[in-house]
């Protein structure tokens, strides 16, 4: 078991800020990507902080998840840079980042990742309605209240109805492979633990003046319990979904209100194309083709290729889906895209013995093959 060091601040945010500041002190990190509540707009947004003093507004624990930061890390690292940066990421953001690294959209060469026990987040609209308008102090208080309630209930999702579905059914809310992993569960209120998930993290932690304390003995059990609950929740959601989408027509109905705005793909952290194929000339039909289709079928739903688009995205992204739920957040018509993608993603990933974002060492399933595998796929 990895050695866990405990940090006790006045509250969780104070503790985490201390930890983040110490990263600046003891490493060559020049800037850090972390959600910061802006003093003027009071909106919480991922922010690149290079002045440790500005960490005062840092609030990675708020139930606010405006976008998946993996995409931002991609911007910061895809091209070569000598700057060493750190990023505070939710576990699902970290998983997305791992997927992006595999497809050369980001690198971890000069990056220190920090993740934490994720208590979940509200849908954007929900959070904005309840929290964002408040002043800095109020926002902070809301976060702490949220934390107290969530950690107190051992992440019992039934006690917080506002929580987004993706977070309810998330089976990976605990950090694993971040350089620094922050534990919150089962610590005393306000305190947090930190352990190294990688060799680089080990180097960082070594010799720090943290108070040594082993992991709370109960943590393993609590984690198990939380995961069990979430798995059951997921099962329910997936079963319900499977019932609704058992046929192509069912899927069509599920997506009926889609207007092909493609916001879901813009929000998707692993959708990495520079321009979606659905926006290219491949789908630039000629007028006579529309006419022919309409004639042929009697009716033609416009915009067309809605189901085609979503199926294609499942094909392209299903294997990399980390279940962050940002697609649902982005949908203007409240289609529950995230459940669909999470369910499909889980299914196909299992089919290849793959778990998106789990490890850099697992190759993307479509990039490798073996001669004598999946014999059952072929044949009549």
């Amino acid at each position: 078991m990895e050695e866990t060091y405990e940090i006790r601040g006045t509250n969780w945010l104070d503790s985490v800020q201390k930890l983040l500041a110490s990263v600046f002190e003891t490493s060559s990190v020049t800037s850090m990507l972390v959600p910061v509540r802006h003093s003027t707009t009071h909106v919480l947004m991922p922010t690149l902080v290079s002045d440790p003093g500005e960490l005062e507004g840092a609030d990675p624990f708020a139930p606010c998840f405006p976008l998946n930061s993996a995409k931002l890390v991609s911007k910061l690292t895809k091209k070569h840079s000598n700057e060493i940066i750190a990023a505070v990421l939710r576990p699902c953001e970290l998983r997305a980042l791992v997927e992006l690294v595999k497809i050369k959209q980001a690198t971890m060469d000069n990056l220190i990742t920090i993740s934490f026990d994720c208590a979940g987040a509200y849908p954007n609209r929900e959070y904005n309605r309840t929290g964002a308008e408040g002043k800095a102090a109020e926002g902070k208080a809301k976060t702490l209240g949220f934390m107290e309630q969530r950690l107190g209930s051992k992440l019992d999702d039934d006690t917080d109805k506002q929580l987004s579905t993706s977070c309810r059914i998330c089976t990976g809310p605990f950090p694993e492979n971040a350089d620094l992993c922050i534990t919150l569960l089962d610590h005393d209120p306000g305190a947090l633990g930190v352990f190294a998930g990688t060799d680089r993290g080990r180097e960082l932690i070594m010799g720090k003046a943290f108070e040594v304390k082993s992991l709370p003995g109960t943590r393993a059990d609590t984690v198990k319990e939380v995961l069990q609950r979430k798995k059951e929740a997921a099962k329910k959601v997936f079963e319900d979904l499977a019932g609704k989408t058992a046929t192509m027509a069912g899927l069509g109905n599920y997506l009926a209100s889609c207007v092909n705005c493609y916001n879901c793909r813009v929000a998707c952290p692993v959708c990495f194309c520079r321009e979606c194929v659905f926006n290219t000339d491949v789908f630039d039909y000629e007028p006579f083709q529309y006419a022919a289709w309409a004639k042929n079928k009697g009716t033609l739903r416009m915009p067309m290729d809605t189901v085609f688009f979503h199926l294609t995205r499942m094909i392209h992204m299903g294997l990399s889906c980390v279940g962050c739920g940002q697609c649902s957040n982005a949908c203007p018509n409240d289609i529950r895209v995230a459940e669909l993608f999470t369910a499909v993603g889980k299914g196909v990933q299992q089919g290849f013995g793959y778990e998106a974002g789990k490890s850099m060492d697992d190759p993307f399933p479509l990039s490798v093959f073996f001669e004598d595998e999946f014999q059952d796929v072929t044949g009549i």
Binding site: C273, R274, F364, S367
Partner: protein, 1001 residues
């Protein structure tokens, strides 16, 4: 005789002939390819599963550069290449003149069916009343006297077996094209008579292949033909084939039941009195067949191979044998069955055998396969007389170690000069074509020749598609013209639909060309019932209408789809037809050869002899490699002289530059264009531009510490013995007993492969020592004597001279105990089942071959090494000396263990491969080639990973993916992995495929 000729004649259109013909055609020669049979493919048209892949892969012989010169289709259908004239049913009847200036007389068999008229409609066969055993299926099934000789051949021209034809005339009457003209009493003249053609050729390649031994001709028939369930290995291949007598299901011929126990009897017609050589391939064939049977039957059929020595002597074969035994449960028994008897009680076949324990047992089987040995091809003798090429005592073409000093322009290729598997045949054929190319290159220096540039066609790439549709119609077919016309009318891109009467006839075809020539379509779609017939005629249309063949396509009305689907799919396909306008950069006409041993020097000479430049890089201070210490081979070839001659030729050759004390440091680029830096002795860097690279890095005798080597002077390796004998420091007269131990550190878990040449080395040294001291006792302790091919005769000779061979097993290895007076060798003798102690003066270890370390070097050129650290060939059968990317070749020991003669052949083959690449002008990028839209590309590099040919690279400076259009083979896997179609495959664009799918539904 007049001018030197630039045409080559290749006799035999089997694998070897196809390889040679393609080699020569790709290097710019005109080639006439003839075959006595009415179809091409030779024996391979009957064989579908090759070891060690258990598959086919024949199509990998096709050109990789300038792919469009050749029809991109399965080679079982046929070979269509712009530079190759194929003449079937044709034999060589005479040859006069000298190298470079021959006049050949070719005779084409008279034909009763006019190949120009026959469309393969099958009506003749339907009415033919005469049923005959189908020669294609070795008589295991029946066909009609008028039949299709090979079912997949295209064009599918019928033939008549005149030995069985009753001249009833039914077929003649029914043929809708008047293609059949039977001879009769009142018309003795054949419509298409025997024709003689005289032709000027510069060189001749003889690739007439082999025949199989007929068990009925020998003393022991093993019940062949008398017992139905005794079949030859070829017959079994037919039984396993999808086009075979049972449509691919494994049944025994007697009653159509699935057999439960099958036996293979090896060496039927080999290694005996009549044919004292080994047929080299039967062991692997038997293993492969047994594996196929095990796979097919889900391991329910028991398979037993009775063998004398299991000769798995090529690099990957030992591993195959292990897999066959361990994974598939093939049972190998060392025994020679005495005969096959029919058991009346069970209806089975009983074999009397004696196993190792010496007990005679009867084993019951219900099917027995005879592994038939090979014999020289029927025509070999006649061809030898015509061409003056010599025959060896067994009746195969002579195959001298070096062709130097030979004045001939006639070369044997493939198994016609000795028994070879496909891989070896392919190497040997390329070696022959390299020598032929040397003879004719002066007449037609291929790389200087200006090819017809593709941009000579009118440029239609920017024009809106203007499609002309040709509809071929038979008088007796349904009238579909109105339907097609209306479809044409509703498609905005179609500007004309023209119905033609039977373009499969000469008149119809000419009529079509005339009609088309009057129009200015920029896309042409031809609708016909059997478009395969016209696959070789695209060029003719293209010429007639001055249009790049890229814009001409055929649609198949004969596949039984609804007409609308076929037509619309065809239109969708042709509408997007285009040629990428990117150009491949010019080929650098230089070949870099790494390694200056026998292989490297031979390769360099082969390159330079055809007018290209070769550069040899040798890390030692002198050329020669292993030849420096070798004295001679088992057949007595003098290596000292060979080395001197070769070095002298290399040094004097104006086309060869040699860098000794130099190594390759770095390389960039791809097939056709490499820039490589060398580090020379004085630490200078030298930059070389070259189009291809040949790795001739060689290998060495493996070091060992086994059997007390290093602790006793009486334990030596073969290399040391060779050197001592050469230097005269060892005199066998002073020895009484010599023990040679084979397979030292070899064919075990740590080094799986057989080193192939050690058995020959031991035989060589045993015979040499016996010659110098007949009183000497020589013992050879072996596991399997790998005296394949003609070297079997030396095995026999050694036994005759009194060398004692004792077999040992991997489990029960010999022991060597050094003492004060010589060494004591303890070995278990399996026949006597007791341990022998041999007090000997000298123990010689056969330690096998290890490759030089080439992994980093290969990696520089995007080539790989195999599990044993030898060069990894793209395909051990069809592309045995090339890396997948088509720009890197290897020869000699770098490829795997082989003797000097085999090394020379592989070196010439590697040179031929390099010449194929650098002679191609790449006037245009092949039609089906991948491209990229950089504006869409996000540089995820998945396409790079997916490309097996290394055609894609990341240009990190420009932030772009680069595609090498020469390396790209158009498989499209890059397009399929690209999520937003930034990568695409030309002529298979997404939108095009979507339209085709729409059209299909």
């Amino acid at each position: 005789m007049g001018e030197k000729q630039g045409r080559a004649l290749v006799v035999g259109a089997g694998i070897s002939g196809i390889r040679s013909a393609l080699d020569l055609a790709e290097t710019g020669c005109d080639v006439t390819l003839i075959d006595a049979a009415p179809h091409m493919g030779g024996v391979l048209s009957k064989l579908e599963y090759q070891f060690p892949s258990d598959g086919c892969g024949m199509c990998r012989l096709l050109p990789m550069a300038d792919r469009d010169t050749c029809l991109q289709a399965c080679l079982r259908k046929g070979l269509v290449h712009g530079g190759i004239d194929l003449m079937l049913s044709t034999t060589l009847k005479g040859l006069e003149g000298e190298a470079g200036k021959y006049r050949a007389i070719l005779e084409t068999e008279p034909s009763i069916i006019d190949p120009k008229l026959c469309t393969g409609c099958n009506r003749c066969s339907e009415v033919c009343p005469v049923t005959i055993p189908d020669p294609f299926n070795q008589g295991l099934s029946t066909t009609k006297a008028v039949h299709l000789p090979v079912p997949h051949a295209i064009p599918n021209i019928y033939t008549i077996d005149m030995d069985h034809c009753t001249l009833c005339g039914e077929c003649e009457t029914v043929c809708p094209f008047g293609a059949i003209y039977l001879p009769g009493e009142d018309r003795l003249e054949l419509k298409i008579p025997r024709t003689l053609v005289e032709m000027d050729v510069g060189a001749v390649v003889l690739a007439c292949g082999i025949d199989y031994y007929d068990p009925l001709s020998g003393v022991n028939t093993f019940g062949y033909k008398a017992l139905k369930d005794v079949v030859s290995n070829i017959e079994l291949e037919r039984i396993l084939s999808g086009t075979g007598p049972f449509n691919g299901s494994l049944k025994r011929p007697s009653d159509g039941q699935v057999p439960s126990r099958m036996a293979w009897i090896q060496c039927v017609g080999s290694r005996d009195l009549e044919f004292p050589a080994c047929s080299s391939v039967c062991c692997m064939i038997a293993l492969k067949e047994a594996v196929l049977v095990r796979k097919r039957s889900r391991q329910t059929i028991e398979t037993v191979i009775y063998y004398m020595d299991m000769r798995c002597f090529s690099k990957e074969f030992e591993a195959y044998r292990r897999r066959a035994e361990n994974e598939y449960g093939v049972i190998l028994k060392r025994a020679r069955p005495h005969s096959v008897r029919y058991d009346r009680n069970t209806g089975g076949l009983s074999l009397y055998i004696t196993d190792d324990s010496g007990i005679r047992v009867d084993e019951m089987f219900d099917m027995v396969v005879l592994s038939l040995g090979q014999r020289p091809g029927k025509s070999v003798k006649e061809l030898a007389e015509i061409t003056g090429i010599g025959l060896n005592p067994l009746g195969f073409f002579e195959d001298p170690l070096s062709g130097e000093g030979d004045k001939t322009g006639v070369f044997a290729a493939g198994s016609a000069s000795g028994l070879k598997d496909i891989g070896e045949s392919v190497i040997h054929s390329s070696s022959a074509s390299a020598m032929a190319l040397k003879v004719i290159h002066g007449a037609r220096s291929p790389h200087d020749e200006e090819r017809e540039p593709l941009n000579g066609f009118r440029d239609v790439s920017t024009q809106v598609p203007d499609i002309g549709v040709i509809l071929c119609q038979c008088a007796n077919g349904p009238d579909i013209e109105p339907q097609v016309k209306s479809m044409g009318a509703s498609d905005v891109h179609v500007s004309g639909v023209m119905a033609m009467d039977r373009i499969c006839t000469r008149e119809g075809w000419d009529g079509m060309l005339e009609t088309l020539a009057e129009k200015t379509f920029n896309r042409i779609l031809v609708l016909a019932c059997t478009p395969q017939l016209f696959l070789d005629k695209k060029a003719a249309i293209s010429k007639a209408v001055n249009l790049d063949p890229a814009y001409i396509d055929f649609a198949d009305l004969g596949k039984g789809e609804p007409l609308a689907a076929t037509v619309k799919m065809g239109l969708a396909r042709i509408r997007y037809a285009d040629r990428l306008n990117s150009r491949a950069s010019a080929m650098v006409p230089t070949v870099l050869v790494v390694g200056g041993g026998l292989g490297g020097m031979t390769a360099a000479l082969s390159v330079a002899d055809t007018g290209f430049e070769a550069i040899i890089v040798e890390k030692e201070s002198r050329l020669g490699g292993n030849l420096v210490w070798l004295e001679k081979d088992i057949t007595g070839n003098d290596f000292g002289r060979l080395l001197d001659n070769t070095c002298r030729r290399v040094e004097k050759h104006p086309g060869i530059r040699v860098f000794t004390n130099a190594v390759v440091e770095d390389s960039r680029g791809g097939p056709g264009n490499y820039t490589t830096s060398l580090k020379t002795c004085d630490n200078d860097s030298k930059i070389i531009d070259h189009g291809a690279v040949i790795l001739a890095t060689g290998g060495r005798e493996a070091e060992t510490s086994a059997y007390g080597y290093g602790t006793s002077d009486a334990v030596m390796t073969h290399r040391e013995v060779e050197q001592a004998l050469k230097a005269g420091t060892m005199d066998p007269v002073n020895l009484n007993v010599v023990v040679m131990i084979q397979c030292v550190d070899s064919r075990n878990d740590s080094r799986e492969y057989c080193s192939r040449i050690c058995c020959k080395s031991s035989l060589k040294h045993a015979l040499e020592m016996k010659r110098l001291n007949p009183e000497l006792d020589v013992y050879v302790l072996y596991r399997e004597m790998m005296s394949y091919g003609f070297s079997e005769t030396y095995f026999k000779e050694a036994r005759e001279k009194g060398v004692i061979f004792i077999r040992y097993s991997q489990e029960l290895q010999p022991e060597v105990l050094s003492g004060t007076d010589g060494v004591m060798v303890k070995v278990h003798e399996p026949i006597l089942d007791r341990t022998l102690e041999i007090r000997s003066d000298l123990v010689v270890l056969a330690t096998g071959i290890l490759p030089s370390v080439i992994k980093p070097l290969a990696a520089l050129f995007d080539a790989r090494v195999d599990d044993y650290s030898f060069f990894k060939a793209a395909d051990s059968k069809w592309r045995p000396v090339d890396a997948v990317n088509g720009g890197v070749f290897a020869c000699g020991l770098a490829l795997g263990p082989r003797d000097a003669k085999e090394s020379v052949a592989s070196a010439r083959a590697a040179a031929m491969g390099a010449l194929r690449l650098i002679s191609s002008k790449s006037a245009g990028v092949s039609l089906v080639t991948a491209g990229i839209k950089p504006s869409l590309c996000t540089l995820c590099e998945r396409c790079i990973d997916s490309c097996v040919y290394g055609a894609r690279t990341l240009d990190s400076d420009a932030g772009k993916i680069r595609i090498d259009p020469v390396a790209c083979q158009g498989c499209g896997s890059c397009a399929a992995v690209c999520t937003n179609s930034a990568s695409f495959l030309n002529n298979y664009l997404d939108q095009q495929m979507f339209e085709i799918i729409d059209a299909a539904i």
